[in-house]
């Protein structure tokens, strides 16, 4: 089986992404490196929506709270995957972005050459979760690196 030295793995801890993590660990070469791409989607920027009744203090309080919570989530995901990757004796790097997931991935590819990109499958309909997909037709046509898409797990991965 061909193994890859330098893998770019996109994961935010969803079921599909955890399946991708497991697959990345299976195909990573000994002493290989896994770069963990984690994106805070840009829709959070519009999350105060059309609120107009609150004063500046309340809005600032909300924005700070949201930023802290999103930051905590990202830190938790990074710590979790760091431990998981290190347990397999691979190297781990985190790449944290804010914006459109697809564009973030393309930005990573511009800065660094990878042997493989590992992504999770889009969440099936009716499954709960945030709507922010990485896999778009535009992205697939723009990528020049091999891509491995992990099938969506029939049961939540351990």
């Amino acid at each position: 089986m061909t193994l890859f030295k330098h893998i770019l793995l996109a994961s935010h801890g969803t079921s599909g992404a955890v399946a991708a993590e497991n697959m990345a660990l299976q195909v990573c070469a000994s002493e290989g490196t896994i770069d963990h791409l984690i994106v805070v989607p840009e829709f959070w920027q519009g999350m105060t929506g059309d609120d107009w009744l609150n004063n500046g203090v309340t809005r600032d309080q909300f924005s700070n709270y949201l930023q802290t919570e999103l930051g905590k989530e990202v830190d938790q995901q990074c710590d979790r995957l760091h431990r998981k990757v290190s347990a397999h004796a691979f190297n781990y790097h985190s790449l944290i972005f804010f914006g459109r997931p697809g564009q973030a991935l393309l930005q990573c590819l511009k800065k660094q050459t990878y042997d493989l990109i590992v992504l999770g499958s889009p969440r099936p309909r009716r499954m709960p979760g945030l709507r922010s997909t990485l896999l778009t037709k535009q992205l697939i046509t723009a990528i020049q690196t091999a891509v491995l898409i992990a099938p969506y797990p029939k049961q939540p991965p351990a």
Binding site: F43, M47, G49, D51, W52, L53, N54, N55, L130, R131
Partner: protein, 527 residues
């Protein structure tokens, strides 16, 4: 950081405004204006021949400075950077109010009346400048993106809405505020507390987390996104719970803004009834104002009622935040910190409501119009009081009224009509009230009602300051709502889902349906 962007955009907007003004002044746009308003004078002529000049000059001067000047970081830079976005919103509002909405009206009247509703498509669907403005804002932000040079200014829309509410304070009479305030406290009290309670109850049955129950109940119960923003940190809601809740509220709110006016027109609701229903039944406060103006685009009576309900909601907000904070601390036990009542009340208090109260207090002292005026309107049937001689009834009109006077049953109504026939104009306030009652009763022919309405309008005048307030309020709300439209992203609405979508759907529907029934049953046509 320097916020002002070197871009010719503001200059171009200013030049475009001046081009509109010069087109109107030179008569170049006359064929267009005649096309937009066939058979009657173009109703926005006063606005279109003045506003583009004033704002165009400001935009051109500021635009040259933005594009060619040098900018340094600081307060001046920050505040000046908002002008470009503000002018963009204003320019879009102008185009829609003066040209696009009238064009849609022309097309809609061309199609003809819809069934036996007696209304045209644009009236039935509320396709007026307010709704079209919000939709345009939504399209701009989602399809084209708000350009970088305008992003800071889009936030000015909130200032526009709050200023509109403050000015609105000048238009209420004490009796109106008392009656509307009482009605809104009862309606909002029942429906807000009811919705919050139902969401918490359903939430506990469906075993959702306390934080989600808290944030969802505030959003569904009080004032939508604003309540969610206020409550989320207090109940320590998780980001995914906030996204679900705000997505659901935005989706539901935008839907209601289109559906409510249609239902209101189909049920022939009065301004008061519709304002009360929209103010209670629509989850999100921004869409309450939108729906009210969509229902009555060329007047602000519905908006006046709806905004009293909005103000009541926002005044209740600190109470709900406190309630949920205490509820959450109790539920979560030692995990959460103690609730600082004073801090919650002070930070959540809507300061702009004080401005509204100040304007109302000023108006009762007669600062804007004599205190004897009702809503700044007064009775006057002499030339000195503003009555125009050409408004005297002619012999043909008197003939129509004389032929129908016997259809009137009540003695005082018949006396008022007789006096009108004898004098060619309404002579007293009491007669005017009687004539208004005859108009409202609709017992006479359409032609007679038209003549009576004209006679009534001929003796009712609006104080100049109040008329100016009404114009400014309309513009401030239109400006604010177009800007708010630019902040409603489809990506945020797409997050609607999970438990909040189910619970929100149930509670939103119950609230809308029950409040409609209550309004129809207990709210009178007037206050």
């Amino acid at each position: 950081m320097i916020y002002t962007q070197k871009s010719p955009a503001l200059l171009i907007i200013g030049l475009s405004m001046l081009a509109i003004w010069s087109g109107v002044e030179t008569g170049l746009l006359n064929p267009l204006l005649e096309h937009l308003s066939p058979d009657k004078p173009y109703k926005y002529l006063n606005e279109v021949s003045s506003l583009p000049l004033y704002f165009g000059v400001i935009a051109v001067v500021t635009g040259c400075w933005h594009w060619l000047g040098t900018h340094k970081a600081g307060h001046l830079d920050y505040y000046s950077s908002t002008i470009a976005g503000g002018m963009l919103i204003l320019f879009i509002t102008m185009l829609i109010r003066w040209f696009i909405a009238p064009q849609i009206e022309v097309m809609s009247t061309g199609i003809g009346l819809i069934g036996n509703t007696g209304k045209y498509v644009h009236e039935l669907l509320g396709l007026n400048y307010v709704v079209l403005g919000i939709v345009t804002g939504i399209i701009i932000v989602n399809v084209f993106k708000v350009p970088g040079w305008a992003q800071n200014g889009v936030r000015l829309s909130r200032l526009g809405l709050k200023t509109g509410v403050i000015l609105l304070g000048a238009l209420y009479s004490a009796a109106e505020l008392k009656n509307l305030g009482g009605l809104s406290i009862i309606m909002i009290g029942i429906f807000v507390l009811g919705s919050v309670g139902i969401v918490l109850w359903i939430g506990s049955r469906r075993k959702i987390s306390n934080s989600m129950g808290g944030v969802l109940s505030a959003g569904m119960g009080v004032c939508g996104v604003s309540a969610t923003v206020a409550v989320a940190p207090v109940v320590q809601a998780k980001p995914v719970e906030i996204a679900y809740t705000i997505g659901t509220i935005l989706l539901w709110g935008v839907g209601c803004m289109f559906v409510f006016p249609i239902i209101g027109h189909l049920l022939d609701m009065s301004y008061v009834q519709f304002g009360a229903w929209a103010g209670t039944g629509i989850l999100n406060s921004a869409q309450v104002a939108g729906a009210a103006l969509a229902f009555q685009p060329d007047g602000i009576e519905t908006l006046m009622v709806a905004e009293i309900f909005n103000i009541t909601r926002v005044l209740i907000l600190p109470v709900i935040v406190l309630w949920l904070a205490i509820w959450y601390v109790k539920k979560e036990g030692a995990v959460s910190s103690e609730v600082n009542v004073g801090h919650v009340v002070i930070t959540k208090f809507p300061v702009f409501v004080l401005g509204f109260i100040c304007m109302f207090a000023l108006s009762t002292t007669g600062a804007f119009a004599p205190a004897s005026h009702y809503q700044g309107k007064y009775f006057g049937n002499t030339q000195a009081q503003g009555f125009k001689q050409e408004n005297l009834l002619n012999s043909a009109q008197i003939g129509v009224l004389r032929a129908e006077i016997n259809s009137i049953d009540r003695t005082e109504h018949r006396a008022a009509m007789r006096s009108l026939i004898e004098n060619g104009k309404i002579m007293t306030v009491e007669d005017d009230n009687a004539i208004r009652s005859i108009i409202n009763a609709s017992a006479l022919s359409g032609q007679a009602i038209e003549i009576l309405s004209a006679a009534h309008h001929a003796v009712r005048h609006t104080a100049e300051k109040i008329e100016a307030f009404r114009q400014w309020i309309t513009w401030l709300f239109a400006f604010g709502l177009v800007g708010l439209g630019m902040q409603i992203t489809v990506s945020a609405m797409r997050q609607a889902g999970g438990e909040p979508a189910i619970i929100g759907g149930i509670v939103g529907f119950i609230k809308a349906a029950l409040s409609l029934a209550v309004v129809i049953l207990i709210v009178d046509d007037t206050v």
